[in-house]
Structure formats: structure tokens, C-alpha cells
């Protein structure tokens, strides 16, 4: 069967294509439209998926959307009615938004793909998250936990799944917490309060939290309370998202935590005000962890299963994930490479195949590389047109040269094969650098990524060496496969891993198995031979505000714009040093 999964219209739209039960293509719309977190109907992504598999839309057996639009409308309308008359300002906006476009998904898909409406399906938002987490994970029986801002009504679900190769797959969601009580929206309110963009800046809150102490935790527990049945509820007096267009928190929230951060001013952690914001971030993070660890612990006891699959935007919180792994009693924790809404495109397609159509289960390849591939000829062409020498090297030559350059302090733009599906650069669209130099971290933040100084960078380490440098709990290796967990750097290595060790001694490490990215693995091994530590700093190949690069043209452009010294696209290599010496760069306009 050929099944197209689609997610769109909230944030981070994506498309994924399944052929005979296996993914063949998946890409976020932003990677093709070049609009960060592009929520638009993912026409480019759909076209690319179909072209890549050489499939005409008419050949599709099904297209499935990642949520139920009418049920979502029901929630929006009911929320507005309940907030009457305070919802009068948000009502026209919400109605235009829903009735204008989001309610007519079947028609939109039909219009774009010319697919009969009988072949267009929908699934629950959290079922799509659950399917993305469970059906891609190498486990046969697992508990499932999904948590995000909101889907239709559910904001958090728990359940269980089972599957066997060649047999049937089952996903059973046992219970859910419903809107407006939401861990994702709770965290987003703090994201907005701390002056970051909601749905984009949540990971900055997590990074900032490491600089603070949770001295506001008692206040945060007043707004995120526990219910007698072990779930949680938000005290809605402190929030506005259910009745306001432009605000997520209320006046009471400000009475509790003080004035919000001015988004135009940088956070200065040396000032009492800056420290206050770090403390608030730490408090929100601590309370989020308490709740989600408790929910996961209960699920562990209830199901008796040793594996947990997590999905939803909250599963991007690597600190919370690591806490769950350490405290909740599960032996392994699986978080897919795209646990957020983009991943729902793949989840919905897998759900349709395995559950709706009852197709036998097939293990999905355990890697995130489902996007467009690099074409090194493109780099050679661009370089030759700009008069730059572009070397085409053998595998070992390339690795030797890159290792030498990084050891000399160069920053490398590394593009290889198919692009990652999900928000993390996992070795195919990465910026790589020396992990030992704190100056390197500052240089990357200031000159290349143009981002806040408090944000940490991640390391990548071969799996066989990970335990030597990082304090990994049992199951930590698996969680680190897609960079989904934050673990302590062993104290004896922190000095030599300064660029990737966060202020609290932790790192969001990617633990690389050789079979997932053999060339990067070879590079790390060679770097270890040269420098003594087989670890590189690995950050996404993009500049602030841009999506991660997809094509070689975007890689080349980013290489020219940022202070990247070396650009690698498969076996093609370009150096900035030579570029500076040999080519007059851009002419003045």
C-alpha cells in the first residue's frame, strides 16, 4: 500500500510517504519552503515525497491527516463558549481561522492531490503521536506516553502498544488529560513570559533553566496542581491562552513572578533580573519534571512493561526525558527523531497502514534520514562558477583533512546523504567543531549561529565510547540515539569538553551507532586517534532564524554567510581560507 501522511496548520507542517509498510520519504515543509516552522499545508513536502518515490498522487491508496479537524473545531468552539463573554476578542479571530481553512482539510487534500475523498482519512492527533513513537521503535511491547500543547481535546495520553513482525499491531490509549490542562501550554506560557517565541523557544527555557535554582517551585506548583487521581490541572486564573489572541499568561501570573522579560533585551545572567528569569525557568522545568516523572512511574506500575515510547512536543525536553529514564522505572525510553507535530505525518501514515488497514507489521529502519539527499556535483558547480577550488576526495582523504582542520580549530559544515526528519541535526546536516575549547562555543554562538550566549552545544560520540565520557543510566544509549536525553559529563572530562558541557555539567549528547551514520562515525574515530577524545561538537547546520539546510545550495550560502571554515558535501570539500585568498568575494552592489 502507498500511504501519504500529512501534518499541517498548527506549526511545523510535514509529509511522509509509506510504501508497503515502510517509510520511503519524510520531510518538514520548512526544509523546502525555507520558512522556519512553516505551518502551511505542505505542498512542497508532498510533491517531494511523491517525486522521490516516483508515485503519481492517483496511485496513493490513502492520504491521512494527523488530526480530526471537526473535533478540533468542537474544542475551539466549546472553549470560546465557556469563556463567554471574556472570549469576545478571540472569537472572531478563531472563527476566521477555523472556518476559513482549517476545517476543510478533506477538500484541501482532494483539491491538491485529486484523490477521491473516500481515500482521505483522519486520525486522532495523539494517536498519530503514539504511532510515530511506538511503531518506529525497535520494541514489541511498550507503554506509550504522549504530551504536547493540545491536539483535538487531549493534551496528554497514556497507553500501551504491541506488535510483532509479520503480525498485527495494536495501540490502546487508556486515558487522557484534556484541554485546557496541558503541560505543553504550561511550558509555553513560561516561554512567552521569558521573552521567547512560543512553539520555538521552549528549548531555550530548558537551556536557561540550568543557570537557575528552582526557588519559585512552590509558586509554580500553585499553578500546576496535582489531581487526586494522579493527573494534573492548571489553575486557569494564571493563564489567558484559552480566551486571548495575543497572551498566554494572565495578570495574576505577573503578580506572582513579576514583569515579563523584554524580548528586545538580552538576558544578562550577572544581573539580579537575569538570575530571576533563570530561576523562574528552573522552577518551571523542575515542576514539569515532577509531574511527568510521576505520570510515567504510575504507567510503569500499571502496565508492568519495561519499555516506554514517548511522543509529542514535550518529548523534546531532553532533561525531562533523562529524569523519566532514571526515575520512572523503565529500562528503555524511545523518543523518535521527530516527536513533535511534524513526526505526526509519519505516525499517521503508520497508523493507517498497521491499524486502519491491518497490514502486518514491518520493522522500520532505525534512522532519521528520510529527507532530500545532497548532490555534491552542485557544490562543485557553485564553487567553480565562483572560482573557488572544490576538492573531490576519497573517503579516507576527506576524513583526514577534516580531522586535521577541526584539530586546528576550524568549524566544518557537514552535509551527507539524506536530510534528517525532525528538529535535530544528527550528522547529515551538522556544523562540527572541536568540543574542548570554550572559545569555540562563544565563537559559534556569536559569529556563526548568531544566538544567545547562554545556550549550550551538543556533543556527538561513538556509542562504544559514550560511557567513558558521560554518566549514562541504563537505557541512556538508546535515548541518546536521536539526541533526546541530557546526561552528565563525567567530571574528569568536563575541562576537556568545555564547549559542549553546559553550566550544570550536563550535555545533550548524540550517541552514534556506526550503522546509523558510518562516515561520521569514522570521522569521530579518526578525530579520537588524532586528539585523544572521539567527540565532536555537533550543532544544526543553519543560522539563527533559518531552518536547517537541505540542499547543497543552502549549505553553500550558509557557509558564505557564517564564519564556517570548511564545507563538506558527501565527497566534495571547500575551504574558506582558500576562498579568501583566491577569489574576490561578492561585488559591492
Amino acid at each position: 500500500m502507498k500511504i501519504l501522511g500529512i501534518s499541517a496548520h498548527y506549526h511545523d507542517a510535514a509529509a511522509a510517504l509509506l510504501v508497503d509498510g515502510l517509510p520511503v520519504a519524510a520531510v518538514q515543509e520548512e526544509r523546502l519552503s525555507r520558512q522556519k516552522n512553516d505551518p502551511a499545508f505542505p505542498l512542497r513536502a508532498i510533491e517531494w515525497c511523491l517525486d522521490h518515490a516516483r508515485i503519481d498522487p492517483s496511485e496513493l491508496d490513502a492520504a491521512i491527516f494527523y488530526e480530526r479537524p471537526a473535533l478540533k473545531f468542537d474544542r475551539v468552539l466549546m472553549t470560546l463558549l465557556r469563556a463567554f463573554p471574556h472570549s469576545w476578542r478571540v472569537f472572531p479571530q478563531a472563527m476566521k481561522n477555523m472556518v476559513g481553512e482549517k476545517l476543510w482539510i478533506r477538500g484541501i487534500i482532494h483539491a491538491h492531490l485529486d484523490l477521491p475523498v473516500s481515500r482521505i482519512y483522519f486520525t486522532d492527533h495523539h494517536l498519530a503521536h503514539a504511532a510515530a513513537a511506538f511503531l518506529t521503535a525497535p520494541t514489541e511491547n511498550a507503554a506509550i506516553l504522549t504530551a504536547d500543547g493540545v491536539g483535538e481535546w487531549a493534551t496528554l495520553t497514556v497507553g500501551r502498544g504491541s506488535k510483532t513482525v509479520g503480525g498485527a499491531s495494536h495501540i490502546e490509549l487508556l486515558r487522557e488529560v484534556r484541554f485546557p490542562h496541558s503541560l505543553g501550554l504550561f511550558y509555553s506560557a513560561f516561554t512567552a513570559y521569558l521573552g521567547f517565541r512560543v512553539n520555538e523557544g521552549e528549548y531555550k527555557v530548558m537551556g536557561l533553566a540550568a543557570y537557575g535554582t528552582p526557588r519559585w517551585a512552590a509558586e509554580v506548583r500553585r499553578i500546576l496542581t496535582r489531581t487526586p487521581d494522579g493527573a494534573f490541572a492548571l489553575n486557569l486564573d494564571y493563564f489567558e491562552y484559552h480566551r486571548s489572541v495575543d497572551s498566554t499568561y494572565s495578570r495574576q501570573f505577573l503578580d506572582l513572578f513579576g514583569p515579563p522579560r523584554d524580548r528586545f533585551e538580552p538576558i544578562d545572567l550577572a544581573t539580579p533580573q537575569g538570575q530571576h528569569y533563570a530561576d523562574v525557568a528552573a522552577s518551571a522545568q523542575a515542576v514539569l519534571e515532577e509531574v511527568i516523572v510521576d505520570v510515567a512511574s504510575t504507567l510503569r506500575k500499571e502496565t508492568g512493561l519495561s519499555d516506554l515510547c514517548m511522543g509529542g512536543g514535550v518529548a523534546l525536553n531532553g532533561v525531562a526525558n533523562a529524569r523519566i529514564l532514571q526515575k520512572a522505572g523503565f529500562e528503555r525510553l524511545f523518543v523518535p527523531s521527530a516527536p513533535g507535530d511534524a513526526g505526526c505525518a509519519l505516525g499517521a501514515a503508520l497508523y493507517a497502514d498497521r491499524i486502519l488497514f491491518g497490514q502486518p507489521h514491518r520493522d522500520c529502519p532505525d534512522h532519521p534520514f528520510w529527507g532530500p539527499a545532497v548532490e555534491p556535483e552542485g557544490l562543485a558547480r557553485l564553487a567553480s562558477e565562483d572560482g573557488l577550488p572544490c576538492d573531490r576526495l576519497s573517503g579516507s582523504q576527506l576524513i583526514d583533512q577534516v580531522v586535521e582542520a577541526v584539530a586546528q580549530g576550524s568549524v566544518v559544515g557537514w552535509m551527507e546523504g539524506a536530510a534528517e526528519f525532525g528538529p535535530r541535526a544528527l550528522g547529515h546536516r551538522s556544523i562540527l567543531a572541536d568540543p574542548g575549547d570554550a572559545v569555540m562555543r562563544d565563537r559559534l554562538n556569536r559569529d556563526i549561529k548568531f544566538r544567545e550566549t547562554f545556550r549550550p552545544f551538543a556533543p556527538v560520540v561513538p556509542a562504544e565510547h559514550a560511557d567513558r565520557y558521560f554518566e549514562l543510566p541504563p537505557g541512556g544509549r538508546r535515548l541518546g540515539r536521536f539526541m533526546s536525553g541530557v546526561f552528565s559529563v563525567r567530571p574528569e572530562w568536563r575541562e576537556r569538553l568545555r564547549a559542549v558541557t553546559h553550566v550544570d555539567g550536563t550535555a545533550r549528547v548524540q550517541i552514534l551507532e556506526q550503522d546509523m551514520a558510518p562516515r561520521l562515525h569514522a570521522l569521530l574515530t579518526a578525530y579520537g586517534r588524532r586528539q585523544g577524545i572521539p567527540i565532536l561538537l555537533n550543532t544544526s547546520f543553519n543560522l539563527a532564524g533559518d531552518p536547517i539546510v537541505t540542499s547543497v545550495e543552502e549549505g553553500y550560502s550558509t557557509f558564505r554567510r557564517g564564519g564556517i571554515d570548511l564545507l563538506v558535501a558527501d565527497n566534495a570539500l571547500l575551504r574558506r581560507q582558500q576562498a579568501r585568498q583566491q577569489q574576490p568575494m561578492e561585488e559591492v552592489a
Binding site: M78, F84, W88, P92, F122, T157, L173, H181, T227, F264
Partner: protein, 247 residues
């Protein structure tokens, strides 16, 4: 090509607009965002451009826009810091006029080279005019004036190179491309106005609808919500869904 000067007749209006330091800071920060957005469009145009010479120029132009964004942002923030109450730090709103919109959501991949260049030329021309006019009324704020004057000068340069490239790449059809771009800008302006009007009308009707018709349903919804418990809910089962209903 004629040198760009400020609009004499509109100077009093601009003087009034720029006199208020709050608005001045807000506008500079808005310009920073527009320039940064324009830079992204131009980098994208450079990435998709096959002609190497034009690619380099678009790239240089994009870098200028990045520099402008930095200049506007730095000056806007400096001005903002002098204000006792700088105002809400939420969205900056729109309220931009023609020369201030940059490339106005240009979809570079969909443009031919000639239409792209014509569009850039006209956008830069409008920006150069607007900034020249603003510079002329900012004698009371020399720091802001210096930034605006510098940007206006650069925009003139962009206007000239885009025209020169248009003449080089489409010698026989440059004028036609420019006229087509003018009509498109006019059409976009009309669409923007029409959308604003439609939005306002819809807003008024929906607000009326809300207050006149929604009340009784709201009472029922509120009543129903009082019976709802907090905490866990059993997930809805859809045995007859058949897979994939919208509800």
C-alpha cells in the same frame, strides 16, 4: 536614473510621525525585522539563481540587508532604552507603508529572473524614496538620521544594480518587466486593502454574532463544563469510525 529625494509635500506628516520617540523606536525595530526578512528572501534568491554574476550581487545585496537590520536594531534599541516606559514587548504590529515593506512576502522560487529583478528594483526604489524623506525630517535626532541616510544611500545602490542587471539579462524586455512589476505591486496593494476590509467586515459580523446569538449556547456550555471533572478522562473509543472520520 534620477537621484532620489524626499517628498517635499509629505515632510510635515513624516516630521509628525517621527517626532514621537516611542513610535520612532518601534518603527526602527520594525524596519530591522523587515530588512532581516528581506535578507532571507535575497539569500534564497541567490541560492536558486543560475547566473553566477547575478548570484554574487544578490548575495551582496542580502548581506547589506543583514547589515541594515543590525543598524536599525541597534539604533532602535538604543532609543528604546532612553524611554521611561518603552511599551509592550509583544508583536510590533504592521502599519507599514509601501516603501517600508521590503519584498513583501516575495516567493522567489516562483519568479522569473526578470520579474524578480523588476520587483527588487521597484521595492528598492520605493525604500530609497521613503528613507530619503525620513532622513530629511530627522534633523532633531542626528543618530537616527545617520542610520536612515546610510540605508537610503545603499538602497539607491541596490536600485541601480537591479536595473543594470535587468538591462543586461533582458535587454529587450526590461521596460515591460518593470511595468508588469508595477501592476503586480498595485494589485498586491489592492489585495491587501481588500483583505483588510474583508477582515474588518468579518470581524464586525462575527462580534455581533457573538453577542447576539452565542449567549444561550454559552450558558449551556458553561453548565455542562461544571459537571466535567479535572484529571484523567477515558479516551474516546470510535468503534464505528471505520478509520478516519473528521469527528
Amino acid at each position: 536614473m534620477k537621484p532620489i529625494t524626499g517628498h517635499g509635500w509629505s515632510n510635515p506628516l513624516y516630521r509628525l510621525v517621527w517626532a514621537d520617540p516611542h513610535r520612532r523606536a518601534r518603527k526602527l525595530l520594525q524596519f530591522a525585522e523587515v530588512e532581516a526578512e528581506g535578507a532571507r528572501d535575497l539569500f534564497r534568491a541567490a541560492e536558486t539563481m543560475r547566473d553566477p554574476g547575478l548570484r554574487r550581487r544578490l548575495f551582496a545585496h542580502a548581506r547589506d540587508e543583514v547589515r541594515h537590520a543590525g543598524l536599525f536594531r541597534t539604533r532602535g534599541l538604543a532609543l528604546r532604552r532612553t524611554l521611561a516606559n518603552p511599551g509592550a514587548a509583544k508583536g510590533l504590529g504592521d502599519g507599514l507603508i509601501a516603501g517600508e515593506r521590503g519584498f513583501d512576502k516575495l516567493e522567489v522560487e516562483k519568479e522569473s529572473v526578470t520579474s524578480l529583478l523588476a520587483f527588487i528594483h521597484l521595492s528598492e526604489r520605493a525604500a530609497a524614496k521613503a528613507f530619503a524623506a525620513y532622513g530629511a525630517v530627522l534633523d532633531f535626532d542626528p543618530d537616527t538620521r545617520a542610520v536612515i541616510t546610510q540605508v537610503a544611500r545603499d538602497e539607491e545602490g541596490h536600485m541601480r544594480y537591479s536595473h543594470a542587471e535587468l538591462a543586461r539579462l533582458a535587454p529587450g524586455s526590461a521596460n515591460r518587466a518593470l511595468w508588469a512589476a508595477r501592476f503586480r505591486r498595485l494589485w498586491r496593494a489592492y489585495l491587501r486593502l481588500a483583505l483588510i476590509l474583508a477582515d474588518m467586515i468579518a470581524h464586525v459580523f462575527l462580534t455581533l454574532f457573538y453577542f447576539l446569538l452565542v449567549g444561550p449556547f454559552a450558558l449551556i456550555a458553561k453548565h455542562a463544563s461544571r459537571r466535567e471533572t479535572r484529571g484523567w478522562h477515558v479516551c474516546t473509543q470510535r468503534p464505528r469510525d471505520g478509520g478516519g472520520g473528521q469527528y
